[in-house]
Amino acid sequence: MEEKENILNILSKTKEAIKEGDTTKIKSLSNQTTNTASLTQDPENIAIAVIVYSLSKILERQGYSQLPGWDKFYRLYINSIDNSIKALNNNDEKLLKKNLEAIRLGINKLSGKLKDYIQDVFRKASINKASKIYEHGLSMEKTANLLGITLYELAGYSGERTINEIRPANPTDVKSRIKLAMELFR
């Protein structure tokens, strides 16, 4: 896995933050994964970005812990993070993939409201991470494909953020572009 040390550091700090119940720190750690995910575009880096961000959202909403199936799912989540750290320390990419996949499988095994909530958190986390990666300069289609979301989801979400305020230093003159469009329809 590329950028192993950085990811290892993020996961280890995430574990500490879980113990401290510090969801703000977890969210901030998830933002640190964006740079690596944009550069490497490695599926494991992207999965970790989504998993860490989702965790911050899940822990923010304490109501989840009252729902049936929570304890088992939470244990699986934390074990998967622990085992991912071990896998990274041992350079065991296969084990890392298996543990990241275990979280997805664990969600599929949930039922009732908890399943709906957690699936929703993960979907929104994917869109959030996609918008961050798009902001880092990858194209919209490239980003949507990396995160497994549709262009409709990314276009809607990124449009609400300030990404579209970013202009190149030497943009094509607005008047020239309008003139081109008007001439096309003359």
């Binding site: 590329e2 740079n35 944009s38 550069l39 490497t40 575009q41 798009y134 902001e135 880092h136 300069g137 990858l138 194209s139 919209m140 289609e141 490239k142 494909n145 549709t150 262009l151 409709y152 989801e153 990314l154 276009a155 809607g156 990124s158 449009g159 609400e160 990404i163 579209n164 305020e165 970013i166 202009r167 190149p168 230093a169 030497n170 943009p171 094509t172 607005v174 008047k175 572009r177 309008i178 081109l180 469009a181 008007m182 096309l184 329809f185």
Partner: protein, 227 residues
């Protein structure tokens, strides 16, 4: 062939569709002496893929209807084969995705849909057919128009030094680009916009911005001053 072509990338059509403005595209087509074309790759992104997802099925159906009506057409309608476009798109994608190089790797920036749209515009130009690319997202536009600016932006965001091979973009510099924002302006100026109250141009431009058109508030102000 003595006609004009607008080749649409996915994002521009998504901006129109998600804002419920597809009737404006229908009306624009009526006053356009040419064709609106989507490649098979873009067709996949805006119709074939989302039509299988309940949340986006309706958006996909609305765009499929435009294809069925002939408002949007496929490259075969102008005598271009998908296989040739895909081949050219692969070349463009490989060039673009190997042009910005970090110390460890090239940065892959674009995908098949965007590449295919650019490929078709270049193929049309080779046949001296007047064509324009309609693309809303920022990266593809920067690759075509301001690749050096894109390098500066990527370096800042990725916190790494990049080498850029500008030669990879030579051919792309011939592509002319508009966005949904400019199409909205044309619709407004040509009397297609049926809302006649309030600052409707401002509302429409912000609507497309909020659905992914990379346009700044400053640019919107400039366009409004051209009313």
């Amino acid at each position: 062939m003595n006609q004009k072509i607008i080749v649409f990338d996915a994002g521009t059509l998504i901006s129109f569709s998600m804002n419920g403005l597809l009737d404006y595209l229908r009306e624009l087509k009526k006053i356009f002496n040419g064709k609106f074309i989507v490649t098979k790759e873009v067709h996949h992104e805006i119709i074939d893929n989302p039509i299988t997802i309940k949340r986006f099925e309706l958006e996909a159906l609305k765009l499929k209807q435009l294809v069925n009506e002939g408002v949007l057409e496929l490259p075969s309608s102008i005598g271009f084969k998908d296989v040739d476009i895909t081949k050219k798109a692969e070349e463009i994608m490989n060039l673009a995705n190997s042009a910005f190089i970090s110390p460890n790797r090239p940065i892959h920036l674009i995908e098949r849909g965007e590449s295919a749209a650019m490929a078709l515009v270049l193929m049309l130009k080779e046949k001296s057919i007047d064509s324009v690319l309609a693309v809303d997202e920022r990266t593809t536009r920067s690759i075509v128009e301001t690749p050096e600016d894109l390098r500066i932006y990527l370096e800042k965001k990725l916190h790494t030094k990049l080498k850029v091979n500008l030669d990879n973009f030579k051919e792309l510099r011939n592509i002319k680009i508009i966005r949904s924002a400019e199409l909205i302006y044309v619709a407004y100026k040509r009397g297609i916009v049926d809302i006649k109250i309030g600052n409707v141009l401002d509302a429409l431009l912000y609507a497309v911005k909020f659905k992914g058109c990379a346009i700044s508030g400053d640019e919107i102000s400039q366009i409004e001053r051209m009313k």
